[in-house]
């Protein structure tokens, strides 16, 4: 990748083999089945939304990708390689992860949070400063606020820092677990707009967990609707609306609409 700006990573235009693949991946917690054996793939450059009611297994699925949760069965393939305990660390460094409320480390400033991994991996200061500059511009975060601690930032600012931290090492895949769930509506819609622009600018492969159909339709190319640990239907927002696979899909969509209007 020498000489290529990380913001303009080439993505494989015509060889659309999936970047991440789940093959028969299943997971239970005690008696509760969180995810039945599931196959799913994520194509490069696209944003996929995992949506469904609470407890449907969407967060577990996301966490299985980077082995925050170990699968009971099946395998996760990342860029052609099976993710194992041994290579999980390396895979995680190629993936960005953003959670609700940011998950920022309260003892570190915004800057130190963003630079944590780059420093750990021994990047030089000029390298890191250049990247930080790019990320501030991209996520519209004021440079002056980089010296602040998470407790001194607003909710929206914290999510922007969290996004910058996730993007610092130019990850091949970005995972977002209800990233906007705790924000008030105005901040939320501003961030939705910015996220969409960022994903498009970076041609970012992204997986977004949300329970909001409007957000999924706005941000994702592809929507995966889940219920009770199973994938119920996959498709665009229009496909789900116009051709629901079953009663649950139409009910879920109409419930979301009535909630919105």
């Amino acid at each position: 990748m020498a000489g290529v700006s990380p913001l303009e990573q080439p993505i494989c235009g015509n060889c659309m083999h999936p970047l991440v693949q789940l093959l028969g991946v299943a997971r239970s917690f005690g008696e509760t089945i969180a995810l039945h054996p599931t196959d799913l793939d994520f194509l490069p450059g696209l944003t996929t939304a995992l949506i469904g009611p609470s407890g449907c297994g969407k967060s577990t699925l996301l966490r299985l990708i980077i082995r925050l949760v170990r699968p009971d069965a099946g395998k996760v393939i990342f860029d052609g390689l099976e993710v194992t305990e041994a290579n999980a660390q390396a895979v995680r460094r190629r993936v960005g992860y953003v959670i609700q409320e940011g998950g920022l480390f309260p003892h570190l400033t915004a800057r130190a949070n963003v630079l944590l991994m780059a420093r750990h991996l021994g990047q030089t200061t000029p390298e890191m400063e250049k990247r930080l500059e790019e990320l501030c511009a991209l996520s519209q975060f004021p440079r002056a606020a980089l010296a602040r601690f998470p407790a001194e930032l607003s909710g929206g600012q914290r999510q922007r820092v969290s996004l910058m931290r996730a993007l610092m090492l130019a990850p091949e895949v970005l995972l977002l677990d209800e990233p906007l769930g705790a924000l008030d509506p105005l901040v939320r819609s501003a961030l939705q707009r910015d996220l969409k622009e960022i994903f498009a600018r970076l041609k970012q492969t992204a997986v977004l967990v949300t329970h909001d159909m409007g957000e999924a339709a706005y941000l994702a190319h592809d929507i995966v609707l889940m219920n009770d640990g199973r994938i119920v239907q996959r498709g665009s927002a229009a496909e789900l609306r116009d051709h629901p696979a079953n009663e649950f899909v139409s009910e879920f969509i109409s419930a979301q609409r009535s909630a919105a209007f």
Binding site: R63, I66, L68, Q89, A90, V91, R92, R93, V95, Y97, I99, Q100, E101, G103, L104, F105, P106, H107, L108, T109, L116, M117, H120, F149, P150, A151, E152, R165, L175
Partner: protein, 491 residues
């Protein structure tokens, strides 16, 4: 580098604490007469050209005996009755010769008796005894309602309270344990009626007490002798033998002088100079003594705290992971904490390489310091929100880096609180180190207790309390540097 330097320093301090091979070490028990006899032995040896170090006011008989056998001390004053009853534990009464033979088999020599018999006795207020018509121990049978305050050692001895009561057929329900010197004050105030005493105690005359006659010859003879290691330089043994005669009147006078001036060395010098009792008492220089006590106290508390942190942090990290190992660690350090500090010291004394030494005190303090550090480290780490753990893992940090860069800083406030608790407890508990002759601020507290002298007690108690406050303040200050600023913000 830094850690290496600190470790090096700690080892250096520890080795300095180990008893040096050179000087002859004189021990003594925690009561006036023993201190004075120790000082007399010291003077005899110094006059013979020896370098002498004192381990004054060490706990009970067993501790001194162990120390003598273990070579941590070379000699100490003892009584023939105690040797028979408590050390050799013989059923029948031994002659001095038989005693000397039995001791020689254990590598211990016994001097000729020093000239006085300091036996156990029961004493009461003279006026009270006259009013009730009590003169002998047998007379007590008629007054079972009298209150007895007995020293803990006397309560448990083979020649102590229970056999005495059986021997005389006494049935006294009001028997409690009390410190020797405090018992005299209690007797004077009338909170107890009878206590055990040594027949040469200066307090007997001073407080107008009467010794109850032992008509049925229960108490064995307690002739004072020096016990010494047979390995001791023969010239030193010769010097001890030159002591000459100390009769009972003389010993009582020396004890009284010691209690009046609160200066054992001065009392011992009276024995050699036969100085007039009203001769000016050499001034006691408090400042250098205080500096010495505080220095040693900080050394004990500091070194033990250092090791508590060094061992406690990894144990706490292991315990935070739960499972059988984690629970085991917490249960174990919790159990150590429940052992009374005095018992822990006594348990450690027979351990090889420890014995009667500052190292033993440090080991005990180290063990006490573990629980707050281990528990707070474990709790601090367990309380980290799962979302932050996930974030650290998801970034791709290795487990070690997660701990170092994220988890430990996040738990720093709780961990430091544990270390602070440990430090403050250590400062307090270190006063007990004096019981095994390890010095520190417990020394004036113990000798003050022994002299029933509040001023001397306060010489140790006030600095110890101030030290604890100071340490607390220092740690509060340290919090500002060690707890990351982001954690000290409101949220």
């Amino acid at each position: 580098m830094k850690i290496g330097a600190v470790l090096g320093l700690a080892i250096f301090l520890l080795t300095r604490l180990a008893p040096a091979a050179e000087p002859i070490v004189v021990g003594s028990k925690k009561f006036t007469e023993s201190y004075v006899l120790g000082e007399i032995a010291k003077t005899l040896l110094e006059r013979a050209g020896f370098n002498v170090r004192e381990r004054a006011g060490m706990g009970g008989t067993i501790i001194l005996w162990q120390a003598l056998r273990g070579g941590q001390i070379d000699l100490y004053p003892e009584y023939t009755g105690t040797i028979g009853e408590e050390i050799l534990k013989t059923k029948e009464r031994l002659s001095e010769e038989a005693m000397r033979d039995a001791l020689a088999k254990l590598g211990v020599g016994m001097s000729a008796d020093l000239g006085f018999n300091n036996t156990y006795a029961l004493v009461m207020r003279r006026t009270e005894a006259a009013r009730l018509g009590i003169e002998t121990i047998s007379d007590l049978r008629r007054h079972p309602d009298l209150k007895l305050g007995l020293t803990h050692e006397f309560l448990d001895r083979q020649d102590g309270w229970r056999p005495l009561a059986t021997h005389y057929g006494l049935t006294m329900p009001n028997v409690s344990g009390i410190d020797h010197a405090i018992g005299y004050a209690a007797l004077a105030r009338g909170s107890i009626d009878i206590k055990d005493a040594y027949s040469t105690d200066a307090k007997i005359q001073e407080n107008n007490l009467i010794v109850l006659r032992d008509g049925r010859h229960f108490f064995p003879e307690y002739k004072a002798v020096f016990l010494y290691r047979l390995k001791l330089d023969p010239r030193a043994i010769g010097a001890l033998k030159s002591v000459g005669e100390i009769d009972e009147a003389k010993m009582i006078a020396l004890n009284a002088a010691a209690e009046r001036t609160k200066n054992y060395a001065y009392a011992a010098s009276l024995f050699f100079h036969t100085a007039a009792p009203n001769e000016s008492v050499p001034p006691r220089d408090l400042a250098p003594k205080l500096a010495g006590w505080i220095g040693r106290h900080l050394q004990l508390a500091g070194i033990s705290l250092f090791f508590s942190i060094l061992i406690g942090l990894p144990l706490g990290i292991a315990a935070s992971r739960g499972g059988p190992l984690g629970h085991g660690i917490l249960a174990l350090v919790g159990m150590i904490q429940t052992i009374p500090s005095l018992a822990l010291l006594a348990l450690l004394v027979p351990v090889p390489f420890l014995g009667i030494s500052a190292t033993t005190a440090i080991v005990a303090l180290f063990l006490y310091g573990l629980l707050p550090i281990v528990r707070n480290t474990a709790t601090g780490l367990q309380d980290i929100p799962p979302a932050l753990r996930d974030s650290a893992t998801a970034l791709g940090l290795e487990p070690g880096a997660r701990l170092r860069k994220i988890y430990l800083p996040l738990a720093s406030r709780t961990i430091l609180a544990g270390i602070k608790t440990s430090a403050v407890i250590n400062i307090g508990t270190a006063t007990l180190a004096a019981l095994i002759g390890a010095g520190g601020l417990g020394e004036p507290i113990l000798s003050g207790l022994n002299l029933n002298d509040n001023a001397t007690i306060l010489e140790g108690a006030i600095p110890a309390a101030l030290l604890a406050l100071l340490v607390q303040g220092l740690f509060d200050l340290l919090d500002r540097f060690l707890i990351p600023r982001g954690l000290r913000l409101g949220s």
